[in-house]
């Protein structure tokens, strides 16, 4: 009776989860999705907790309270820190899956071979490997994004890196097969521990060679792993709600990863094993190219005359916390009757959709945030393209230079605008040391300085009465 009731509640929760994601298809209904998700979650937790075999409550209550104590501050982080918060939550998801798998294995190990069927044991091994590699991998990713000192930001490579990584994973899988064949042999308990250690190590090694620009893809892939770990847990516990929720999470991560990869014209394997950033081709004897820089006053005068302005934000805008100044600029230009749009590249920032959230936070209506594919046809009619902290996503080398590491990557056609202003902190080349031809184009004028200061000064000029 109670078992049927629980299954019914799980069924309702699964439906609510599907609706929650369905309502995310437009910002108008998205918040309804959150409420559906919360309702499904509360129902599922209560129904599970009320089951008669759950008799020890104290530990669970403490864990739930601790979850609130840690979870609430984690939900209040500044939006620039959302990528690392997301990575951290993948780590928690992986940890939960890994621990439940471990607990179940040793529990059933004590109860004898009848419980550890081949299917269950396989699912447990998958759950533990996916869970623990997601745990350490996501911690590493979060550390890199948070720029923790002792975690190197730049990709770290060493000889035979890929061979080592794949070897580790194969070793873990091989041990897994052995444990499935003899799940209750006395050595199997030890082998299981070794599998955990290998998965933990593999997670670290997988992320070490990956640089900041690849983080959107990596976060999406880790999202997918966390979902698959939950699916494996569902197989272990014979729980279809877990399978469904995990599959939704897994497919979401997969789709986002595919979008990110397409937006960089790269494959999964290339992101995970390619160690982007090592290439840095130094063009032999390249002639000194010359930047033309422009003063704030000059920039403001051109902007004042512009009828249409496209602002192209990148990670530099997030680093400089410039989004609120950008909003002021947007307001000033709008006041003068110009049309102002934001061109959003899928991989701008450090996670999928990062720029949209930052600009929405600054109160810019989402109707003015335009995707790359939709804005590119309009770029030739655009009077001014203003690049704020973006680099690779506007580099025309992606279209023309076959030797460039970003060749083939779709870009925002900033170079086709009548005038280009690029705000840049220094004259150093951007990530991966790739020269950006856009900066040397005859239509481009550089505005050197911190993005927040430069945009702030432009706003001052435009709002001042003396501009003519």
């Amino acid at each position: 009776m109670i078992a049927n009731f629980v299954q019914l509640v799980y069924l309702v929760a699964a439906a609510l989860f599907v609706f929650a994601l369905h309502w995310m298809n437009t910002p108008a209904t998205a918040r309804r999705g959150v409420y559906a998700g919360v309702l499904g979650m509360v129902l599922a937790v209560v129904a599970t907790w009320l089951q008669p075999q759950v008799i020890h409550h104290q530990g669970i209550i403490i864990a739930v309270i601790a979850g609130f104590v840690v979870g609430i501050p984690l939900s209040r982080v500044p939006l620039t820190a959302v990528p690392q918060r997301t990575a951290l939550s993948h780590a928690f998801g992986g940890l939960a899956a890994g621990l439940v798998g471990t607990a179940k294995y040793y529990l059933w190990f004590g109860e004898g071979p009848a419980e550890l069927t081949a299917f269950r044991t396989t699912a447990i091994i998958a759950e533990v490997i996916l869970g623990f590699l997601t745990f350490t991998g996501s911690l590493m990713a979060a550390g890199k994004l948070q720029e923790i000192k002792w975690i190197p930001q730049r990709p770290v490579t060493y000889p035979f890196q890929n061979v080592t990584n794949i070897g580790l994973l194969l070793l873990a899988a091989g041990l897994g097969v052995a444990v499935v064949l003899q799940p209750t042999a006395s050595w199997a308990a030890v082998a299981f521990g070794v599998i955990i250690a290998l998965a933990l190590t593999f997670g670290v090694l997988l992320i070490i060679p990956i640089g900041g620009a690849d983080m959107p893809t990596v976060i999406a892939i880790l999202n997918s792993y966390a979902g698959l770990a939950a699916v494996a847990m569902g197989f272990v516990l014979d729980n279809k709600l877990l399978i469904i929720a995990g599959a939704l999470d897994g497919s979401s991560g997969l789709i986002l990863a595919i979008i990110m990869c397409r937006a960089m014209n790269r494959s999964f394997t290339n992101v995970l094993f390619g160690a982007f950033g090592q290439v840095a081709p130094s063009k032999a004897g390249g002639e000194e190219k010359i930047y033309k820089s422009e003063t704030i006053e000059g920039g403001a005068q051109v902007l004042e005359q512009a009828n249409s302005v496209v602002i192209i934000p990148g990670y530099g805008m997030a680093v400089a916390q410039a989004q609120h100044k950008v909003r002021e600029l947007y307001d000033q230009l709008k006041k003068r009757g110009a049309t102002v749009k934001f061109a959003i590249h899928p991989v701008a920032g450090r996670m999928p959709g990062h720029m949209n959230v930052l600009l929405a936070e600054a109160d810019i209506p989402y109707t003015d945030l335009v995707e790359m594919d939709d804005i590119n046809p309009d770029m030739p009619q655009c009077d001014v393209a203003l690049v704020v902290g973006a680099n690779d996503v506007v580099n025309p080398a992606a279209r023309t230079d076959k030797s460039s590491p970003i060749y083939g990557m779709p870009i925002i056609d900033a170079d086709k605008a009548r005038t280009v202003f690029a705000i840049k902190r220094s004259k150093n080349p951007g990530f991966a040391g790739i020269d950006n031809e856009l900066y040397f184009s005859e239509r481009t004028w550089m505005l050197f300085g911190d993005a927040k200061n430069v945009v702030g000064e432009l706003v001052k000029q435009l709002s001042g009465p003396s501009v003519h």
């Binding site: 078992a3 959150v34 075999q53 998801g93 621990l99 976060i219 939950a230 986002l256 959230v357 989402y366």
Partner: protein
């Protein structure tokens, strides 16, 4: 746990397949639904799917709650904590981000 039939060899084999079918169908539903999610909302999408997959809390409670050895239950309790953290922070931050998406300033005051 829920095992009604004591003999796993006969009782479980059909259930394995129904689990795999559920997985396959849920993946197709997931791909279909997620593909239609607005690109504007990919960051909130990630945080909400994160919260939803923390449904792992259900499995964690079933390890932490029954009369199992203390060591096993401790693993379950840590897993409950990790999942609850994701549930709480995931839903709250999704809601916080979604509140910021407005069409324009005037209508934004009356509704979001």
């Amino acid at each position: 746990m829920f095992l009604e039939a004591p003999d796993p060899a006969t009782a479980q084999s059909p259930d394995i397949w129904s689990q795999i079918f559920v997985f396959m169908l849920a993946t197709f539903i997931g791909l279909g639904v997620i593909r239609r999610v607005s690109r504007l909302l990919h960051t909130p999408l990630m945080s909400i799917t994160n919260a939803i997959s923390a449904i792992a809390v259900v499995g964690a409670i079933l390890v932490a709650g029954p009369d199992y050895p203390a060591g096993i239950r401790l693993l379950g309790i840590i897993a409950v904590f990790a999942s609850m953290t994701n549930i709480v922070s995931g839903f709250l931050i999704t809601e916080r981000m979604l509140k910021m998406f407005k069409t324009d300033k005037k209508s934004g005051e009356s509704r979001s």
